[in-house]
Symmetry: C2
Subunit: 411 residues, 2 copies
């Protein structure tokens, strides 16, 4: 039978995540993949699971396995209200709703706000999972310019002056893919711009607890609470397989989020929410988070040291104070595609940065490097190999350019 003719208009616009396709290719044995964006399994509190399960069974019994409120399990929402205080976010538990991972929050916001042709402002480059959540609702993306400090406030100002945008999507801290963090001064400026334009920001904050140096910077939510939907997740500080994210949205938005979620999945796993509640409430997170940081900090330092040592001088890269990624950029005009292919042949993988741009043809010289999945020795080896590949490709492309020039000159 003819299935294609049954598809909704929106569906033909869905496409496989290029990164997921890359991840499939590079998951073969022997590959050192810096392409992933996932936490190290060693970061999961595996020794706590049985204990947490016992606590949940004792404390909540069958309630933890029953249908529950769409808004989320109350003990978890209470725990999150408490936890968010340290981020300068002061909310009642009723103001927090649980999503099925932060992906669930992205989809929900897309679903209730984006109509066909609605404008959504995103950083260039931006988080690909957000685009994948938004795309089925058929938005048009408006580009926000960035520099080493993240999005530029004057670009936001310009965009809000010229376009009627539904919302702005930012990852202000240790951004995926660049690792960049918006400094406080810019956050203050952005909060003021949002308020002046009556604009809505989706502040996606999955990484801010993974800070290896420096001090915490206030969330934009804390600076302009009525203009910000704040999204967090326990995927990086507990376990991603539990799919627990959360949203703090202004009340009128939250009302629609709940209605939408009723239709999408009724509610997020009660058992997993109960485990998360006890992980936060029982002081386990406070105890476990330093272990995650102690695991990742030396990995990031090793990658940075290896980049200094092995990467060609024509490259520059970010030096984030936390998160899971570094972002490297070759000279203008350099195309990383060949280097990517060659690196795979030598069993090292990364994600070409161009996949993180909403417009085709941008970011050809950029790459995202993940440092959470391997130990220092392996990371150093991988960067050494990548450095060699890049140097060869730079030489080859320079040679080709010279030959091209000579050819033109010789005509």
């Amino acid at each position: 039978m003819d299935y294609e003719s049954l598809l909704a208009d929106r569906t033909t616009g869905m496409s496989a995540s290029a990164i997921r396709e890359i991840l499939k290719v590079v998951s073969q044995p022997g590959m050192i993949s810096l392409a992933g964006g996932i936490p190290a399994p060693q970061s999961f509190p595996m020794d706590l699971i049985e204990e947490l399960t016992a606590v949940v069974l004792k404390k909540y019994g069958a309630l933890a396995f029953q249908y529950d409120l769409t808004e989320g399990f109350l003990p978890l929402r209470s725990a999150l209200a408490e936890y968010l205080k340290q981020k300068g976010i002061f909310l009642t538990r009723e103001e927090i709703i649980i999503s099925s991972g932060s992906q669930g929050g992205l989809d929900a916001i897309g679903k209730i706000l984006i109509g066909k042709g609605s404008k959504v402002a995103v950083e260039a480059p931006t988080y690909l999972g957000a685009l994948q959540a938004f795309n089925p609702y058929q938005p048009e993306y408006v580009r926000l310019e960035t520099d080493d400090d993240g999005v530029m406030p004057e670009s936001l100002e310009e965009v809000l002056r010229c376009h009627k945008v539904k919302f702005i999507y930012l990852v202000p801290t240790f951004q995926n893919p660049t690792g960049r963090t918006l400094p406080l001064a810019r956050r203050v400026q952005i909060a003021e711009i949002l308020q002046r334009h009556g604009a809505l920001l989706f502040e996606d904050d999955p990484y801010s607890d993974l800070r290896y140096q420096g001090t915490q910077i206030p969330t934009i939510k804390s600076l302009a609470p009525d203009n910000v939907i704040y999204a967090g997740t326990l995927s990086k500080i507990f376990a991603p397989g539990l799919r627990i994210g959360y949203l703090a949205a202004p009340a009128p938005i939250q009302r629609w989020l709940v209605l939408s979620k009723q239709g999408v999945d009724l509610h997020t796993s009660t058992f997993n929410q109960a485990l998360a509640a006890e992980y936060l409430n029982g002081g386990y997170l406070k105890e476990h988070l330093p272990k995650i940081i102690d695991l990742y900090r030396p990995r990031q330092q090793a990658m940075l040291a290896a980049l200094d040592r092995y990467f060609p001088k024509q490259f520059r890269w970010t030096r984030p104070q936390g998160g899971m990624f570094l972002w490297a950029e070759g000279p203008e005009g350099f195309d990383l595609d060949q280097a990517y292919q060659e690196a795979i042949r030598r069993n090292v993988a990364f994600v070409p940065g161009r996949y993180f741009y909403s417009h085709v043809g941008e970011g050809l010289a950029t790459m995202r490097l993940n440092f959470t999945m391997f130990d220092e020795t392996v990371l150093t080896k991988a960067i050494k190999i990548l450095g060699e590949v890049l140097a060869e490709q730079l030489a080859a492309q320079a040679g080709a350019a010279t030959r091209e020039k000579l050819k033109i000159a010789g005509r």
Copy 2:
């Protein structure tokens, strides 16, 4: 700021589930609520959770807490492929995808197939959660006529001849809300009609394992595999709080379901999927299911006996061989609204059947009665009270009709 103006067109069509609103009202202490649609907590295998957790930790370790395939955790898909054989459904594990509850499957099908104004054929009455999943995608519903044996094949034939429908939605076994089951002969007819018209059916099958009498009837999926998306869930035979459903769709549909799910929630909880895999694989389901049936069978029998004894003669009701619901119907012209209010005052609740119709003004004399949540004594008491309320209301409405007639005659 003005949030309303940011909403997508589809969002203004979302509305709170009337049933969820009813459930809030009737959850006060002392109320005997036959309004719910949830399994009894005593049906959950609580004594197995710690054992299953230990097995999962030993067998899968950190993998059960890591990001996983969008399609679902492979050991669970293998277990489900095995389990579905007894339902006459023969699939490889690759042909099954896991959804976040069956609600997740309903949303996914709505998302990939329904555009604004797309026609979807549904039974009258039908499962409300399906309408809630589909509504945001703005379908038009086409009504399928039903009788005591469920949907009438000639109505399906007529609908497919006159309308271009995207898909048909049916709950063929122990339907919610009516408890009705399509007999085999009708299933065969429906399979033939689907094949002849090249039409697609969403066969939602959450209840078929809860059979208290009689023998299993083949699924429509087993009769017309290429024309049916089959949806199941572990909510009624394991625990709903784990949010584990699954879909078996023809390959071209499955491909789009996976793309859609990537954007919606990346994947369903790995840990819960691993628990479910071990529940099925370890033979626990086989051992536990008879206990669930032994819990519910006498409850249903008690409710039927009480209906025979206490309900007014003008009422008729279904006598399903399984499931969670009975459906009762008063005489034509009777409106249950007053009876509902009066029953609440006497601390007994049910769901007025009109909420299960996609068109307003239908089913005013109908009611859904759930029998899973209370023991036999309480159920008998509740039906006795309801019977008294209904008898009073019938008398009152008959009296009012007589007075109205006399008034007209006296003019």
